[in-house]
Symmetry: C2
Amino acid sequence: MPRHRVVIVGAGFAGLKLANDLKGGSVDITIIDRRNHHLFQPLLYQVATTVLATSEIAWPIRSLYRNRPEVTTLLGEVVGVDLSEHTVSLRDGQGISYDTLVLATGARHAYFGHDEWEKVAPGLKTLEDATTIRRRVLLAFEKAEMEPDPERRKALLTFMVVGGGATGVELAGMIAELAHRALYREFRHIDTRTAKILLVEAGPRILPVFTPELSEYGRQALEKLGVDVRTGKSVTNCSAEGVKIGDEFIASQTLIWAAGVRASKAAVWLGVEADRAGRVVVRSDLTVPEMPDVFVIGDTASVVSENGRPVPGIAPAAKQQGAYVAKVIARRLAGAEPPRPFVYHHQGNLATIGRRAAVVEFGRLKLKGSIAWWIWGLAHIFFLIGTRSRIAVAASWLWVFLRGQHSARLITQRETIQDMDS
Amino acid sequence: MPRHRVVIVGAGFAGLKLANDLKGGSVDITIIDRRNHHLFQPLLYQVATTVLATSEIAWPIRSLYRNRPEVTTLLGEVVGVDLSEHTVSLRDGQGISYDTLVLATGARHAYFGHDEWEKVAPGLKTLEDATTIRRRVLLAFEKAEMEPDPERRKALLTFMVVGGGATGVELAGMIAELAHRALYREFRHIDTRTAKILLVEAGPRILPVFTPELSEYGRQALEKLGVDVRTGKSVTNCSAEGVKIGDEFIASQTLIWAAGVRASKAAVWLGVEADRAGRVVVRSDLTVPEMPDVFVIGDTASVVSENGRPVPGIAPAAKQQGAYVAKVIARRLAGAEPPRPFVYHHQGNLATIGRRAAVVEFGRLKLKGSIAWWIWGLAHIFFLIGTRSRIAVAASWLWVFLRGQHSARLITQRETIQDMDS
């Protein structure tokens, strides 16, 4: 009899964990992704802030499965799902047949109905997002060095990060390090230490998933780095000239969006119910209601854990879902009982502030400062793929830590095309 | 009295050598470049062929002079020179004043009057050129994996390099390694080892600057790697479908141009005589005739050495010219005799074929094979800037050498915009 065909769309943390856990089973796996690489998103902000090179946190998907002949990798863009034909439709017109379909297509950033803001305030989800932000941040300093007009120079040296979650905090902290530590001796007409970095959060406090104590510490650590933290303030307009926070206009040439996400089009492909963030509301076994052969996992799925709280859109949650679906598929093929409903085990929260401080929360264990930073750093190096990347990232961090020199400061691609791509 | 102002346009090998050798003198230096980075061009082909990451062979110019307060770096595009006003005009309208001007603006590749070929046959001069070629080569394999039609698959797996100089040979050799060694276990529908790599050279032999023996060895080494070498054949047409060599049409989706260069617009800016390649014909002290304060050096200068042979457009020649001009400027400021006319000292020729063989020629010393490869490798690591890059490049080579794995295989930017940029 023919082997069972599992098609996985999306090679993020959820999709890869599923493919990895299906190893040794008697299933043929096809992984489809728009990109040729898996991206280690938790460190993407370090590419955007010139600490890491793109190749240090991304790996060609097919190279990860070179020794798994039953795994086929396709570089293609999914545009729909034909449920009656059991096929996934690609942009180039091809259809890929499946017995079991798993959609793990992630999320993009959301602008709360102001998509026109994206051009001036790029978000951070892909390598191109990161190199776009990197280019804009570096170009702002370069233009300021050439700018005779003090007002315009001030706007060029004002960096605005919108969103006080981990990503926003990490971006603001590293931009502050860049301006106040890494760059200041390299310019002759400006003092990069005069740069203003603002972090705007609509909620009452930054790092809301942490305890009030740790988020207060995070705020103080950011302020020590020279970041101006504004909580309880929401952005009412973004333009090429700057940002409107409430009624106050702040001139800034460099805006970065780290607030809110919107799920992929998985719900549209399936024609099923989605929540406000566009995520597919799945059953407790992560299948789509009335579609036992279709799973949706990761940031594009809306999963409610037992305590009634939504499962967060973070890497560990995505991996747990991938592992769970691998178990479901294995049991089905073995004709065994389905496993108990999916339960999310929260391992903790981590966030860094600059190159020395971090906040870490593992259940009752709460840590801050440099010890937390080391735990954070080791944890992330551990989760990277391959010795080579681990060595490379460790070396880059060592350089930043000891020499204060950021090793990934190339400006590539022209700004004129940044809104098309970079 | 005010300090003497030297403006250097172009931070390639010639410009940087000049700025470095002027250290300690009483001159203010302004370096202007369109890019924020100095590029180690001799290894650029390894970025194009997925061996090295962009950040491993490029360095932010201003970071190289962080400890030289008299050196100002400007990211700007020169559009002209006002000789009467002694100013360099930038695209943004600013004028930069100079007492001594040095134009070291390099060269681009040339298409012998067929500029329309550039879109289908990109050359290799900038990081964007390299990532464009890398993306096209990798996408060709990805598309072939998806292509049901055998004819089109064959065209996708045919790679054509035009130009049998060192760059063309090095590109063809590494693409062969990629297809026959690095990738073949990662695809399921195609055998990448069936890929055809062609190297076309109009002249009678490849590597013409080497002795006939060494260029014959190079040809054999390439053929051992599976490269189809065609000498004495010139390209009569390039299109999206393929290449016409003489009357023979060869279907190929991936063309790379490594034949011929055209100098920058320096001659136009100065309104002076240029040779066929657009280079400024300079005097024996590397100044422009009738312009004692204006030097032109590097690939954009036409310099004839004593034996009447033109100085080649290679890094060592550019560095020697930069060093010479530094001496001229220092002597002038000291009121001393001008140095003797510039003499080019040819140190030798190097070229690699794949990841194990190379040809090396130092005067009477001629080497080939793996010993030559090690000499080539050590020489290049030595010439890189900074410990960090040396370690990184050595590590990347080690991985290729021992594991056969290429560590810079990311496809970024979309093909749709490649002709605008990448």
